[in-house]
């Protein structure tokens, strides 16, 4: 439930990118949201729509790409996408798995208009 503060961080990146590339407007933003990043895509969208009013991204389209949770098993070396709430290795059943992907929140791409 801290989507609004995360969106504020997104806008810091947008302003910085616009400045760096001499752009007047941001027209699209692609965010990669890990399935276990602790962020709800719907809430992120609402927060983005609220925040963008009166900014250089007022007309920007937000695209959210959900990154599934990928587990790596140190016991058998297997790697697999987690399908449910089972945190065990899909190959050997070990429970000593590590999460290698799916916990981050990344501003992947921005589309700028100069």
């Amino acid at each position: 439930m801290h989507e609004l503060s995360l969106v504020a961080a997104v806008f810091e990146v947008l302003e910085e990118q616009a400045r760096e590339h001499g752009a007047a407007r941001v027209t699209a933003v692609v965010l990669k949201v890990g399935a276990m990043a602790g962020v709800v895509p719907d809430l992120l969208e609402s927060a983005f729509d609220t925040y963008k009013k009166g900014t250089l991204a007022e007309a920007a389209r937000l695209e959210i790409v959900v990154v599934p949770v990928r587990l790596r098993c140190p016991d058998c070396g297997g790697e697999a996408v987690r399908e449910d709430t089972d945190f065990s290795c899909a190959c050997c059943g070990s429970r000593r798995v590590e999460i290698v992907e799916g916990r981050d929140l990344v501003v992947e791409r921005v589309e700028l208009e100069t």
Partner: protein, 223 residues
């Protein structure tokens, strides 16, 4: 008017991760064990810290950073036990961030053994924010129910120890400590589990011994 696409690939939690890494290094340099306490509101974080203050009195030096949305109440409770405490009021934010801890760290005495950080009562958001701690505790009290680990996996995934609190209430509520522990261990194998009643004193010796052992490991450089 031209349009261009820029690949940014910027991790939004990177700032927090950097601040947390700096805190971890600073605490280790000073030989202080940092412990981050996560749980729902009312599961007994402050009461547990009060009880630990009693156990450690005269033997180990501890301090507490309290995180709450409003009021100084928790810090006042800790100070009443003779333990230095700093209150961070987030004014609405649902979790503590490393930057907030960094600001207080300069005031924390250098000759400490344990620095406890009591996070905002919330089993969801604090899990995403590293505060530079060496150990993360998740507390789960008997009245909350033994089904919580599977419902809030993220908090348990990042924990080092599970403290089942309010053991004195177990006879009166539908709570099976073994089931709670098994659910948490299925998510996080190797999790240390403690059954504690801060009011009655159950499990406090074991928990204190676990903390002292972790402190010794940290100071011998094998943490």
């Amino acid at each position: 008017m031209t349009s261009k696409t820029i690949t940014v690939a910027r991790d939004l939690l990177a700032t927090n991760k950097q601040a947390a890494a700096a805190i971890r290094e600073e605490l280790r340099r000073r030989g202080i064990l940092g412990v981050n306490l996560l749980s729902s509101p009312g599961s007994g974080k402050t009461t547990l810290l009060e009880a630990l203050a009693g156990r450690f009195r005269g033997r180990y030096r501890m301090a507490v950073i309290e995180g709450d949305i409003e009021t100084e109440r928790d810090a006042e409770r800790i100070r009443a036990k003779g333990v230095p405490a700093w209150q961070i009021t987030t004014g609405g934010a649902c979790h503590l961030e490393a930057r907030m801890i960094g600001k207080v760290l300069g005031d924390v005495p250098a000759d400490l053994d344990f620095l406890f950080i009591e996070n905002v009562g919330n089993l969801v958001c604090p899990a995403s924010y590293d505060l530079g701690e060496d150990l993360r505790f998740v507390l789960l009290s008997a009245p909350e129910g033994d089904d919580k680990p599977a419902k809030y996996p993220q908090a348990f995934l990042s924990a080092d120890a599970l403290v089942l609190t309010k053991a004195d209430l177990v006879p009166y509520v539908p709570f099976d400590p073994a089931k709670a522990a098994a659910e948490a261990l299925a998510i996080r194998p190797g999790l240390a589990v403690f059954n504690v009643s801060a009011l009655r004193g159950d499990g406090l010796d074991e928990l204190a011994a676990y903390l002292v052992e972790a402190l010794e490991r940290l100071r011998s450089g094998s943490a």
